[in-house]
């Protein structure tokens, strides 16, 4: 039942992606953005959006350097607090229910866990991963309701990825300092007192 639904969804996305690629080609060619063009010219079932590529920190990639078949640290599914490496990561996502290997591919750390069609998810498409557990939000995001797009309301849009706003390891949106309040206008004292 579930996989049937997903296949349907993916087909629909694929068609959408194809349409996107047709519509966006000319505008992108103008922008000389070779990287983005390359991505759009290869429409696959997953790459339906002209999303920005978000490189992982260079120091840590490729994951295979340590997690590869030669080095082969034992895969450890046990939830534990203090990892020997990756100390910058303090997992705070979904309470104690979630562990690294609910998202990261245990046998190939260069990828995220596959969709139900068996295709692994690349880091650049982490939104597909998020969509597996946050389906409603993912659909809203795809429709431009959750999250944010910039660019052109009637043309090429830039999508903000889930991970642009949410650290996957600690996804709660971070509070921020507000900009200064407006100056109070000159008003009679009794009106001012209301505020």
């Amino acid at each position: 039942m579930k996989s049937k639904y997903l296949i349907l969804l993916l087909t629909a996305l694929g068609i959408m992606g194809y349409c996107f690629s047709l519509a966006d080609k000319s505008a992108l060619a103008q922008s000389q953005d070779a990287e983005a063009l390359k991505e759009i010219q290869a429409p696959t079932s997953e790459k339906e959006f002209p999303v920005p590529l978000r490189p992982l920190p260079k120091t840590i990639t490729p994951c295979r350097a340590c997690h590869g078949p030669e080095k082969d640290f034992p895969v450890n599914f046990k939830r534990r607090e203090d990892l020997l490496v990756h100390t910058n990561i303090r997992l705070n996502h979904g309470g104690i229910r979630l562990w690294c290997l609910d998202c990261h591919h245990p046998d190939n750390r260069n990828y995220l866990l596959p969709l139900s069609d068996g295709k692994v998810i690349e880091f650049e498409q982490s939104y597909l991963l998020c969509g597996k557990c946050h389906g409603t939000i993912y659909r809203d995001w795809r429709d431009g309701i959750h999250g944010k797009r910039t660019g052109s309301w009637n043309g090429v849009k830039n999508y903000y990825l889930c991970v642009t706003c949410h650290d996957p390891h600690n996804p709660k949106f971070k509070p921020m300092a507000p900009m200064p309040p407006p100056k109070k206008p000159w008003t009679p004292v009794e009106v001012q007192a209301r505020h």
Binding site: G144, I145, K148, W153, P181, P182
Partner: protein, 320 residues
């Protein structure tokens, strides 16, 4: 005028008695529908206006933007560019792009997502060349206690270390671009009107500064230049539109135009682009696939003071 709250006249900053000129022109235009240009020209010669006025004679005889010929528009744009160059030492673009076909602009704001950071307020000020002193800000961010919808209990002066604050929610308010806009109806000289794409605009050169529109607006979406606007030359935005963010002068009313200079060339308004939480949505109401249409179709939406039948094209929505 019906919507005018008694407190409003008291709280508007610096209630300045109207000058003789404004006073008489209002009465005249109301009572005998005298053509403004004839009247102004007459008044000018009688009062010796040229002697005391800083404005050029071209500006003085300039027509309402809606009635200008292509040639007149070009001349006006040239004159304005010269004027701005003199004042700010920069080359301006003064666009006059018209509405796009089959376009009706709408706006939606996710009230659950907004964190009250006011980034939109300042992006708007910079994009739209609002006066820094006296301060004009098209967007007011209201803070409410959770569960309280009473505008009278809200504040715009909150200033905590960090937002969002527990127990509060935020509601930015700006011009609602009403489909049935009371402000445009009360203008005695038709200096403000609704464009075909739904944007409510002001012809600053035609505005006589009577502020009827401000009294008629139930959303406090209009602002008056009580003094000569002050904008540092280094922060002026030189990409402007005649009906939008070109520099304004003293004694005229201004307002949000959905960033007409941006949206008419396909860009999102500045407030949409800057919102860090993505609470602000903008698009074409006539396109069923636009973000805004999907929101109106699929989410719970409401409009401010809908009981007044102003029919805003600015929707607030709940994402969940």
């Amino acid at each position: 005028m019906r919507h005018k709250k008694s407190s409003e006249s008291g709280s508007s900053p610096g209630n300045r008695p109207p000058t003789d000129l404004e006073n008489s022109s209002i009465k005249k235009t109301n009572s005998e529908l005298l053509d403004r240009r004839t009247f102004m020209a007459g008044a000018a010669s009688v009062l010796g206006m040229f002697a005391v006025s800083s404005c050029s004679w071209q500006e003085f005889i300039q027509n309402n933007f809606q009635r200008m010929t292509k040639e007149e528009i070009e001349q006006t744009v040239e004159r304005l560019r010269k004027e701005y160059k003199e004042k700010y030492g920069k080359d301006f673009v003064v666009g006059t792009e018209g509405p796009l076909e089959a376009t009706l602009f709408g706006y939606a704001l996710d009230i659950q997502r907004c964190i009250g950071c006011r980034k939109c307020v300042y992006a708007c000020v910079e994009e739209n060349n609002q006066s820094r002193d006296p301060q004009i800000q098209y967007i007011r961010v209201l803070r409410f206690k959770d569960g309280d919808m009473d505008l009278e209990h809200s504040t715009i002066y909150y200033d905590p270390e960090e937002v969002p604050e527990d127990g509060y929610y935020y509601m930015p308010v700006q011009c609602q671009h009403c489909a049935n806009a009371p402000c445009t109806k009360v203008c005695p000289v038709r200096a403000t009107w609704t464009e075909r794409d739904g944007i409510v605009v002001v012809d600053y050169n035609w505005c006589i500064g009577c502020r009827y529109c401000m009294a008629a607006c139930p959303y406090m979406g209009r602002w008056f230049n009580f003094a000569e606007p002050v904008i540092p030359a280094e922060s002026i935005n030189t990409v402007t539109h005649y009906l939008g963010n070109r520099p304004r002068m003293k004694n005229v009313v201004e307002k949000c135009t959905f960033c007409i200079q941006r949206v008419r060339v396909g860009k999102y308004p500045a407030c949409v682009e800057v919102c860090p939480v993505g609470a602000r949505k903008f698009g074409n109401l006539l396109d069923p696939d636009s973000e805004i249409s999907k929101i109106i179709r699929n989410k719970r939406v409401f409009r401010l003071k809908s009981e007044l039948n102003t029919q805003p094209k600015f929707y607030y929505f709940f994402a969940t």
